[in-house]
Symmetry: C2
Subunit: 227 residues, 2 copies
């Protein structure tokens, strides 16, 4: 890692998606912290499980999957990170999941130590670190409910509504990830994901323009399916 093009150091003022407060700015926008941009090719690893957690990242463009593996290759994706999202923030010394670029991706990053000590660890910064971690925990708790108790259609409906909320600018959703990634996020096989999407298509709940370009035609119905 860190063997690629390093673009200009920073202060890119706006990346966060519409409306959402920019969490990265909340922690990095203090005391003139130096942020660096960095790019990863599709499927390239950003950091590995148990590697030192020396940086905190924000997606500028592209998308990231974060996952754990069992020894025989079974994979659980814990989160997808989309433009504006902060990821890789750890309280301990190492990363607990692996992060990979789903497509060619550019991130902004800052050294974690600089956040914690150089900036003086103001109450403001400390609160932001805590709040971001608590946000991730909240999402993980929701996802445990999905993985432990929802059926296949409910999982796919939840996923579509989540992505719609997070990346549907124009009403059109351009999913960066393949069916296998979706399955590994939802605890399903790629075939089951595909069948659920086909059924929603047949039922007129959504329309495709290409397998990964989706328009939701009936969000209410999707909400009802989400249990």
């Amino acid at each position: 890692m860190l063997t690629q093009s390093i673009s200009a150091p920073v202060a890119n003022p706006k990346v966060a998606t519409a409306g959402r407060p920019d969490q990265f700015h909340a922690i990095a926008g203090h005391a003139g912290l130096v942020a660096t941009e960095f790019s990863y090719k599709k499927d390239e690893e950003i950091y590995g499980e148990d590697e030192p957690s020396d940086y905190v990242y924000q997606v500028i463009c592209g998308s990231v999957r974060s996952y754990k593996l069992l020894s025989d290759g079974r994979r659980q994706i814990g989160a997808f990170y989309l433009p504006g999202d902060v990821f890789g923030l750890e309280s301990g010394p190492t990363h607990r999941l692996t992060a990979e670029a789903i497509v060619d991706t550019t991130v902004r990053l800052v050294k974690r130590r600089s956040l914690e000590q150089a900036a003086g660890m103001t109450a403001q910064v400390a609160r932001s670190l805590w709040t971001m971690t608590a946000g991730e925990l909240g999402r993980a708790e929701d996802h445990m409910l999905l993985l432990g108790r929802k059926n296949a259609m409910e999982r796919v409906a939840s996923f579509l509504l989540e992505m719609d909320r997070r990346l549907a600018a124009t009403g059109m959703m351009a999913l960066p990830m393949c069916r296998r990634d979706i399955g590994d996020y939802l605890g399903l096989t790629l075939e089951t994901v595909s069948r659920a999407l086909s059924q929603l298509h047949n039922d007129g709940v959504l329309a495709f323009s290409g397998a990964r370009q989706i328009v939701l035609r009936n969000r209410q119905r999707l909400h009802n399916m989400d249990a």
Copy 2:
């Protein structure tokens, strides 16, 4: 809530389980914060989902389950809290899960506001709040892998090893929770949990003395089953 016996205000010096640093002390042991003891009957609610998160709790004796419900009653238990464990810590204004006593339970509690401002929110305290939340997140990430990708026997093996680590003092494990609670934690039915335990019993991996008193006879084999 808060209509029960309030016992003497505090400074009970030792509750945390052997070896583990006392997290509660790390946050509450500053600036003479007043901690209160409080008791709940079996199955009594400690706090509800979306209720204000005004207190942080530590189990003194007994056990607690923390869960989310779907509208039709399906339940996902996100965590069990055992003596010494801290729970109910939120960054936001409300609880995101419900907490209930599994058996008659006594907790110590402190006002959250007193932690955050009265104590002056030292870097030390801020770091502890963050670290505890990050610890919960780490457990949630492990649990997502279990819920999304492990089979029934692997889930039960994981559960037994977790409980062994957390509450086996004498080699004997006294589970406070019923089979349904275990199932709702592992994303299984109570029957599936029971069958897995019976099989482990038949295979000589564990011994029972009463359905909830378990002795692990072969931890290595359990580890191998855990994927």
